[in-house]
């Protein structure tokens, strides 16, 4: 089973020798150390334009660190990480939006203002078009009617959806999501997963999702990258060749989930 997985993994785009700078995201031999601790060790990852890739792995495998590097928050690392051909240390991270694990909203600003934080710098926030865009996004994440509410009055799940809308407002070349649905109840989670897929298809955004939810990774992704810890390195890359729209109960998805589980060594 394991060797079969390995073989299929080898055929994935990650190992393509001709991965070019035209890919939305290229990571080569990425190594990140915090002092003596090696968080990421020689990670390779290529994400094509419009692709939906999930990164799964046990806690402490460096999943979040990977996103922090890609979003430009960690500027000291070895190897290469580029967005649309531009190194994340030289402005490549400008094209990256990120939904953090915690909502990280401005407590003094209402929902609309918080979503507006994500508007790109060249969009005038006072423009009626910008206001419409924000209203649309708030509707997309199912928070219509809460525009004037402050984060203090929202549940954790609602706050996280505001954070998602903020990330979408940025309209990034690559949207990074750090376990965005982990705090939601099951029903809201399914809803938001489908919302995310709708937005992804409509806007053709490139998405990298970090999650520890195997079901979620299989259901949403074109490709699942399994990180093993510690230090974090890519154990396996699994293509999810299942036609969309998918059902959580698809046999093929169940098979994919098993492969992810095997790769994680659970």
């Amino acid at each position: 089973m394991s060797s079969l997985n390995k073989k299929q993994g080898d055929t994935s785009s990650d190992q393509r020798p001709n991965a070019s700078d035209e890919d939305a995201l290229v990571v080569r031999d990425l190594t990140k150390r915090y002092g003596e601790t090696v968080a990421l060790d020689g990670v390779d990852l290529t994400v094509s334009d419009g692709e939906f890739v999930s990164v799964v792995g046990p806690s402490g495998c460096g999943k979040s660190t990977l996103l922090r590097v890609l979003s430009g928050l960690e500027e000291r690392f070895d190897g290469r990480a580029a967005v649309d051909g531009e190194d994340v240390r030289d402005g490549g991270s400008d094209g990256v939006g990120m939904v953090f694990q915690e909502p990280r909203l401005l407590p003094w600003a209402d929902v609309s203002e918080n979503v507006a934080v994500g508007l790109p710098a060249d969009v005038d926030a006072d423009d009626p078009k910008a206001a419409t865009r924000i209203d649309d996004l708030i509707e997309t994440v199912g928070l219509s009617g809460f525009e004037d509410h402050r984060p203090g009055g929202l549940s954790g799940g609602m706050a996280q959806r505001v954070s998602l809308a903020r990330g979408l407002a940025y309209d990034p070349a690559v949207l990074l999501l750090d376990e965005p649905f982990s705090a939601l109840d099951q029903l809201t989670k399914y809803e938001q997963q489908d919302n995310l897929l709708d937005v992804w298809e409509a806007r053709e955004t490139t998405i990298v999702l970090v999650t520890h939810d195997i079901e979620e990774a299989a259901y949403l992704s074109d490709r699942v990258v399994v990180l093993g810890g510690q230090p974090g390195r890519v154990v396996e890359t699994i293509d999810v060749d299942v036609a969309r729209p998918r059902e959580q109960t698809d046999d093929e998805l169940v098979a994919v989930r098993e492969r992810i589980t095997d790769a994680l060594g659970v």
Partner: protein, 264 residues
């Protein structure tokens, strides 16, 4: 569940009536003190030339209010405090923002300000008189020095303490320095700034006494020293009470602003 609901309802309607008048309790002890004060003078424990009756203080100041003399003193003192606070707060905001935001500015200025904040207000007076004469500018600038430090110290620490999580959000969404300051850092530091302004206004009242006691021909502080020269304890006590009243009033004002601005 039903029981808790009911208990809550009773508490909800019953408590506010009591709570509303709770502040009156704070008047009990001062009122008692005034009565004791009055009795101790009439009984003869204190000589009237050292401690006048409460009513004496009231009639003296009522007379000054009617003649119009009092208002001039109050007005000039308020004006000095107001101008001093404006200048002190403005300079405090500038330096507090700079040192809170830029590491280099903090390294350069913070040690200096930290060591200057402990200089007593009275120590500045001779120097300011020498530099600026006995005119208004000396007093206003002295008060500004007093108002500056709390604003500077609180804002600087407030800005330096803005949550790293929110700064990362600003970084990821490329807000840029100005927008980051406007939308994230200053709102986050606003509560600290208001605490600083409250402290600044408080110190401004301390500094205005220092300035007026020594070099003024008008103002409540002048009234205070005049009362000593004329051996008029009623004027001295009245002036002290006036300072207490105005100081409290300004503190309440800033507190009210604080309450309205910081509503999270």
């Amino acid at each position: 569940m039903a029981t808790t609901g009911r208990t809550y309802t009773i508490g909800g309607t019953g408590l506010p009536n009591v709570e509303r008048f709770r502040w009156l309790l704070g008047l009990v002890v001062p009122a008692a003190l005034v009565v004791i004060w009055h009795l101790s003078v009439t009984v003869g424990i204190f000589a009237p030339h050292q401690l006048p009756e409460p009513l004496r203080v009231v009639t003296t100041f009522y007379g000054m209010a009617v003649s119009g003399e009092l208002w001039g003193h109050i007005a000039i003192t308020i004006q000095r405090v107001f101008l001093g606070v404006i200048i002190g707060v403005a300079v405090g905001i500038v330096f507090g923002t700079l040192t809170g935001y830029y590491r280099l500015a903090s390294d350069l200025f913070d040690p200096l300000f930290q060591s200057m904040k402990n200089i007593p207000s009275l120590a500045w007076v001779p120097l300011f008189l020498l530099w600026f004469g006995i005119g208004e500018s000396a007093k206003v600038l002295l008060i500004a020095v007093g108002a500056f430090f709390p604003v500077y110290l609180n804002l600087s620490t407030g800005i330096a303490g803005v949550s790293e999580d929110l700064l990362e959000v600003a970084a990821v969404y490329d807000l840029g320095r100005i927008e980051e300051l406007r939308r994230v850092i200053l709102p986050a530091a606003l509560p600290s700034l208001l605490v600083g302004i409250r402290g600044g206004v408080g110190l401004a009242w301390m500094f205005v006494v220092a300035a007026e006691l020594i070099a003024a021909s008008q103002g409540i502080g002048f009234l205070l020293s005049d009362g000593r020269t004329l051996s008029r304890p009623d004027i001295i006590i009245g002036s002290i009470l006036l300072f207490a009243f105005l100081g409290n009033l300004s503190d309440l004002g800033v507190k009210e602003v604080e309450k309205r601005v910081v509503t999270q």
